[in-house]
Amino acid sequence: VSIKLITLIVLVITSVRANAFDAEQAKLINEYNSKYESVLKEQGLWPNEQEEFNSKISEAQLSYDTSISELNAVKESVLFLSQDVETQVGHLEFLNQLTLVSEKNKDKIKEAVVRARIFTSANQVNVNSLSAKSNELQIQIDDFDEQIEEREELIRRQEDTPRYRNLIGIKSRLENEMSTVNAGISNAQSEKSILDSRISSLKTSIETSRQREDDFKIEAIRIRTQMLPPLQAEELRESSRLTQLQQDLSSEISKRDLLNEELRELNSRIRNIENRLAQDPDDDELKRRLVRVTQNRNEKRRERNSLNDTISRADRDIDRLKSTIERLKRDIDSKLELALQNDAQAGEESIKQIQFSSQLNIANSDLTTVTSRLSSLEAQQINLTSQQAQNQTDINNYRRTNIFPIEREIGIINGQKTRVVRVQNQILNWAQGLERENINISLIPDRISAHEQIVASVQSEFEEAQTKLPALELNSKRLLLALNASKSAYNQRVTAINTLYTELKDLEEKMKTELSGGNNE
């Protein structure tokens, strides 16, 4: 009941409020509200519709793209096949011309044979006639070989005579001897080189050792003449001083003994006086005597103490002097020892020189022996060289007389044979050329036949592909139309919504002018 009441009240209020607008404004507001709702509704539907449209368009696009791909593939295939047909036909033409080419090649060979005067007419030239010609020439070649063999046999006989064998034997022996002498020379030169080196080394050692000996001797002399004398003089001086000090000390000790004796005497006198004073303490004379004697004793004590100090100092001086003299003696001994060592080393160097000299003498002796041997061998070498020259002259003379004429004949025959072989090789080449061309000519019909089949096959493929093209092009056009139709439907719907939207915007502008403009005034 309360809701109905509220609704009724609302209706009353709103009815009163509606009166605030005039009829034209109310119409405009109605129209605006209606348009607003329409745009809201249509635009709200759009996302789902757009999805459906897009799905259809994608599908149409895919079909169209597929058809285009297929069409392009067939077009490419047609293009490729047309090129292939062209290529294969070209090759067939080439094969058809091959026989002619081979025949021309054969004619060229025949002309060459006639030019070479193997035959007088080209008609005579064929593989068999050329082979027969080659066989004839082979007989000539064999004959040449036989002649050469005969002459070689003659040469062998000439080389087998006792005289020639003897010359060859001498040559061999001389070569052996020369080889031995050369080896001997090589060894002797090697030994001589080693000995030269050793002699040089020994001379250097002797010189070095001599220098060292001199150095040691000079050092020993320097020690004895320059270093020892000052030390010995100092030792002498210090020893004299020691003797003097020891004498002074003995004198001082005697004095001290005397003073000690006097002190004992004075002490005894003091004790006497004291004993007597003990019995007679008032004896002034005794007291004076005691004072006098005591003073005297004390004086003596001071003297003795002073003397004791002097003796102690003298003792210390003597000890120091003894120590100095000891040190000097050690220095002198050390220097003497050093001089002796230098003497000994100089002696050692001298012994070494004797040893080296002995070795040098042996090496010099060996060198003389080797040099002598080498001279002998070199003389032998000269002699053998001379003999070899003579032997070679003998051999050459023999060969010039007995073998060279035969070898010249062999050379002439070989020249003749070479010319015939060259002609034979040429004939064989021509024969092979003719045979090769004959084989080519015999094979060409089969190759042409096989290739004609290939051309027919490629031509057939090309025609088949070509026939597919119109249907595929038609299909592509149809699919493109379908695609554009889908897009047009999409665009129509978009246009419809946009038209509503534009109308709404126009109304909004109008509302703004009508309502806010009026109120602002």
């Binding site: 809701i3 509220i6 609704t7 009240i9 609302v10 209706l11 209020i13 709103t14 009815s15 409020r17 509606a18 009166n19 605030a20 607008f21 507001i29 109605n30 605006y32 509200n33 607003y36 745009v39 809201l40 509704k41 635009q43 709200g44 539907l45 759009w46 996302p47 789902n48 757009q50 368009i57 169209y64 493109l480 695609l483 554009n484 897009k487 047009s488 999409y490 665009n491 978009v494 246009t495 919504i497 946009n498 939207y501 709404l504 915007k505 909004e508 509302m511 703004k512 309502l515 806010s516 009026g518 109120n519």
Partner: protein, 187 residues
């Protein structure tokens, strides 16, 4: 009297018990509330709404999306001011500190009757206005009543950001971008 009736009306607006598409509250934060209502008192249809009220509870600022049974979805949202006063034209300022954005609201006619009970934001202003409502702190609405007098309403935006975001997500709302309505090029 008018004031009380409108208060009752607005209270009843947010107390619907919808069944078909899970009616009930979606989100509430400070001064803002979002919910699905069945048989909306003004639109007479099931709707998804996010709204706030003036301090005197007489006027409502509401983002409304009506349920479409055909597509089983909510329509694109509209922004409305519902008020008991004789409003002819609204000029709404949404403010953050010293920054102002001004929007015009035109009168509207609800479904339930043919009379005007409020005003609606212009079609293209909706997205800007919703962004402004989420990010600013106060809405000042100046309006002209039938006698030509200028009046003012003030709505708080406290809690608007979270509530409006939840409202859009819960009801799966969107505003179609104009780029999606560009025609395609034919091949």
């Amino acid at each position: 009297m008018n004031k009380n009736i409108v208060v009752l009306f607005l209270i009843s607006l947010i107390s619907f018990n919808a069944h078909s598409i899970e009616p009930g509250p979606i989100s509430a934060s400070k001064e803002w509330t979002a919910e699905v209502v069945e048989n909306h008192l003004v639109w007479n249809k099931t709707a998804c709404v996010a709204y706030t009220k003036t301090s005197d509870d007489l006027s409502t600022l509401e983002i409304t999306s009506i349920y479409n049974e055909e597509t089983d979805t909510f329509s694109e949202p509209t922004i409305n001011i519902l008020t008991p006063f004789d409003v002819v034209f609204f000029e709404v300022n949404v403010r953050l500190d010293r920054i102002n954005d001004a929007f015009s609201f035109f009168p509207m006619i609800p479904e339930r009757n043919t009379e005007i009970v409020g005003a609606r934001a212009m079609f293209d202003d909706r997205q800007f206005l919703i962004d402004a409502l989420k990010g600013r702190n106060v809405v000042n609405a100046k309006y002209f009543d039938a006698s030509g007098e200028v009046k003012a309403l003030s709505f708080s935006l406290s809690g608007s950001g979270a509530t409006i975001t939840n409202f859009f997500e819960a009801c799966e709302l969107q505003i179609t971008e104009r780029e999606n309505l560009e025609p395609l090029t034919l091949d």
